[in-house]
Amino acid sequence: MLEKELTNPILAMLFVATDPLTLLELQEVYPKTPPEELRNTLDDLVAHFNSLQAAIEIRQISGGYRMTTRPEHHEDIRSYLQTKPSAKLSLAALETLAVIAYKQPVTLPEIMEIRGVNSGSTIRTLLEKKLIETRGRKKVVGRPIVYGTAKDFAIHFGLKDLSDLPTLEEFEEVLSPPGQ
């Protein structure tokens, strides 16, 4: 193990850094330490760290140092990141889903009236994610397709059934800004 006092804090900084850590930044954190000493500490710890680890390495990138995984593990990492159920939605998709959840069965023109923006492409995304489904056509002029939430919707949001969805009125107290 390296014994230098600054080794561990600098390693911790490398770990949290979103951009490559530069010597200049280190000098700002440790203004009393001579720059050469900082450089030496950094070089030593990088050499030591890279000799020790086979999974994570510190590389010199665009004028600084950056901790990254080694390329040989990228496939496993991708496969791990794909295991995460993507409950993640864009704001537009979330809005469209909300209208469908609360107003189903509902047509695209009705969704657009409430949202005030074109919603065709978000409908497609939600259909692909199997969060919504088509429910036949509405018996009005043009016979537009009606949409409703699919089975995965309840699973996704941990609802036993649709009646578990809180109503706007119930959430009034929680949703209105404080002081009202």
Binding site: T18, L81, L94, E95, L97, A98, K103, I114, T167
Partner: protein
């Protein structure tokens, strides 16, 4: 400041001036139960032996003090004050032979003690959370993830996100309708359409909503006509739960 959670910090702090000392206290009392606990703990009496009369006096004196200091006393404090005064007034009445009142009062006292003890447990639990949070706020996970760049704008949605999104849309929708109706030529038919559109996104409209729209008197008159017309044809229902309460406008139409 860690001890603030227990409500003890302000007590041990040396009082500088009255104002300063009390402003410290006021921040600590989250509600009436907090204040009652403080009053009891301050006297170092066994909580099971508290005297209702005494604690009521102290509680009211404290609220007086807050008033003197021009501190707005939150409603929760006043509700408890009213309850305590009510109980105390019953204690002052000449005791009835069957002493049913006595029993009721003793029942109330027991319940209050139970509630205070329960409340105190959670204050200690909150203190534990506070300490854990302090530790956790000094460790960092890794910064941005090179692998998740494309997911940055996405939110991992919860039921709350869903209902919030819907809430915001409904608010926006109402604003849009308000903007559209600012023109001066108004007809009852337009108002009928407006009400129908509002009821499409909401279970009910409050009557006061139309006043909050800040439109001209003519608009309001037309809205009234529209409401009457829709009521007459049984398309909507007007509900008022009690005198002076807001009127709810609900649709009578079945969905689809």
């Amino acid at each position: 400041m860690a001890t603030d959670v227990t409500g003890a910090a302000g007590l041990t702090a040396p009082p500088q001036t009255y104002n300063q000392a009390y402003s410290v206290h006021l921040e600590i009392f989250e509600g009436p139960l907090d204040l009652l606990l403080h009053l009891i703990r301050q006297q170092e009496i066994d909580i099971y032996d508290i005297s209702l009369a005494q604690i009521t006096d102290q509680y009211l004196r404290y609220l007086e003090m807050m008033k003197d200091l021009n501190v707005t006393v939150a409603g929760d404090f006043l509700v408890m004050a009213a309850t305590l005064i009510h109980i105390k007034s019953r204690m002052l009445l000449p005791a009835e032979p069957d002493s049913e009142t006595d029993q009721e009062i003793e029942e109330f006292r027991k319940d209050l003690v139970q509630q205070l003890l329960e409340h105190e447990k959670f204050k200690h639990a909150a203190q534990m959370l506070y300490e854990r949070e302090t530790v956790e706020l000094s460790v960092w996970p890794r910064g941005d993830n090179e692998f998740e760049e494309e997911e940055k704008e996405l939110v991992s949605a919860t039921v709350f996100d869903l209902v919030s999104a819907f809430h915001q849309m409904v608010e926006r929708y109402k604003e849009r309708i308000v903007l559209e109706v600012k023109g001066e030529v108004v007809t009852v038919q337009e108002k009928i359409e407006e009400i129908r559109r509002l009821l499409r996104v909401q279970e009910a409209i409050l009557f006061s909503f139309f006043f909050e729209m800040k439109v001209s008197r003519l608009h309001l008159v037309m809205t009234l006509f529209a409401l009457l017309e829709l009521t007459k044809v049984h398309e909507i229902r007007l509900i008022q739960k009690g005198a002076f309460q807001d009127i709810r406008i609900q649709s009578c139409l079945k969905k689809n």
